[in-house]
Symmetry: C2
Subunit: 212 residues, 2 copies
C-alpha cells in the first residue's frame, strides 16, 4: 500500500521504517529533506518528500509531526492531498513552554485529533498509538510479549477497521476500540501520566494493560 508519513522525528522514522519493512511503498515528509539524509542512508526503501508530496503519495497518511505544530504541518500537506483518505494521528499536543514535564495545548473539552478532524472534514482521522513510545508503536511485542493495550478512536468505522488491521501487522494483540474521535481526549490526557511513569521507570519501553 502507498503510505505517507508526515514528520521527521523518532515516531515518523520508526513508522516509516516499519511500514517499508512490511512491504509498503513509503514516503516520509519533511520541509527539510537534508535532516533525514543520514537516516535514509540506512533506510533506502523510504523516499523523502515535502509535506504535500508525502500526503499526495499516501493512500493512508500518518501524522507523526510535533503535536503543537501538527495543524500547520497538515495545512502545508494540503486539504486536497488528504481528502477522502485515512489520516492516522499518532501525535500528542505536548506543551513544553514551561519545560518538563509538559502540559497539553488542548485538553478536556477538545483534543488535537478533533481539531484536525474539524480542519479536514473530508479526511478520516483515526487516533491511535499516541500512548506509547515510537519503538513500542511499531514493535509492541518487545514490551511484555505484547500483553498490553493500544487504543483506537475514530468516527469512521471502516477507517477504524483498516487501521486495526495495520496495527495487527505491527504485532499488536490487544487493540481497544475506545469509540468515536472525542475519546482521543482521554488518550491524549493520559500522556501526563505516561511522562511520570517514564520519569520513574527510567525506560520508555512501557505500556498499560486494562484489567477487569
Amino acid at each position: 500500500m502507498k503510505m505517507g508519513v508526515l514528520g521527521s522525528g523518532m515516531a515518523a522514522q520508526a513508522l516509516s521504517a516499519r511500514l517499508a519493512e512490511l512491504g509498503h511503498d513509503v514516503v516520509i515528509g519533511t520541509p527539510d529533506a537534508e535532516e533525514l539524509k543520514g537516516w535514509q542512508s540506512s533506510n533506502q526503501k523510504v523516499m523523502i518528500g515535502s509535506f504535500a508530496e508525502t500526503a499526495a503519495h499516501g493512500e493512508m497518511v500518518f501524522n507523526a509531526t510535533n503535536g503543537a505544530a501538527s495543524l500547520n504541518a497538515l495545512r502545508l500537506a494540503g486539504v486536497e492531498n488528504l481528502a477522502g483518505k485515512i489520516l492516522v494521528d499518532v501525535a500528542n499536543p505536548l506543551d513544553f513552554s514551561n519545560g518538563f514535564p509538559p502540559s497539553l495545548t488542548v485538553f478536556g473539552t477538545d483534543s488535537l485529533a478533533e481539531q484536525i478532524q474539524r480542519a479536514f472534514p473530508s479526511t478520516k482521522v483515526v487516533k491511535t498509538l499516541n500512548t506509547v513510545t515510537p519503538r513500542v508503536m511499531t514493535h509492541p511485542l518487545e514490551v511484555a510479549n505484547g500483553d498490553h493495550h493500544v487504543f483506537i478512536s475514530a468516527n469512521d468505522m471502516d477507517a477504524k477497521t483498516q487501521v486495526t488491521e495495520l496495527l495487527r501487522s505491527f504485532g499488536w494483540i490487544h487493540i481497544f476500540d475506545l469509540g468515536d474521535l472525542s475519546t482521543a481526549r482521554g488518550t491524549e490526557a493520559y500522556l501526563l501520566l505516561w511522562v511520570r511513569l517514564y520519569g520513574t521507570m527510567n525506560t520508555s519501553m512501557i505500556n498499560m494493560k486494562i484489567m477487569k
Copy 2:
C-alpha cells in the same frame, strides 16, 4: 487508628466501611448528617460528624469529598484540625459543567492535590486511589485478583510509607510510587481516559496494570 473520612458520597462510604471493618475508629464527615443516617444503620461502627469534628477526630484524614468542592470542604474542616496530619486525597477535580464526559477544573501545570497542599502547608497530602472506583479502592482483589496498579504521590516520605501500609491492608499488591505530589497531575488527568474506558466497558470494576 483514629480515622476521619470527609465526604458523604460513594468513596467516603466505601472507605469508612472498610476502615471500620479493619478495626479502625472511624468518623465520617458531612455538613448534613441526615443524608448518612440510612447508610449508617447498616454501618453502625462508623460515627457521623461535621467536617471539623471529623478532621479533629482523625489521626489520619481522608479527602473523599467532591473534587470541585474539596478546597471549601477542607477549609470548613479547619487548618488547625488538619495540621501535622496525613491527608489522603482520593478526590478528582471533575468538571461536569458541560455534562458528561467531564473535563477537569485544574490541569496540566497544577493539580487538586497540589492546590490542597498549598492551602494546608502543615498537612502531609498523599494522593492515591483516585484512579479507581470506590469499590476497587477498598477491595482491589475483586479486579483481576489484584493484578493491577494503584499510584501514590506525596512530598513526605514517611507519610507515603504509612499510606502504603494502609493500602496493603486493603489488599493492594502493586503500589506504584510515582514521586512527589506534582505527579498527581498525571493520575488526575488519567481520569479523562478512565471515564472513556468506563463508558466502553460498561463496568467500573476496572483498572490498569503497568507493563514493561
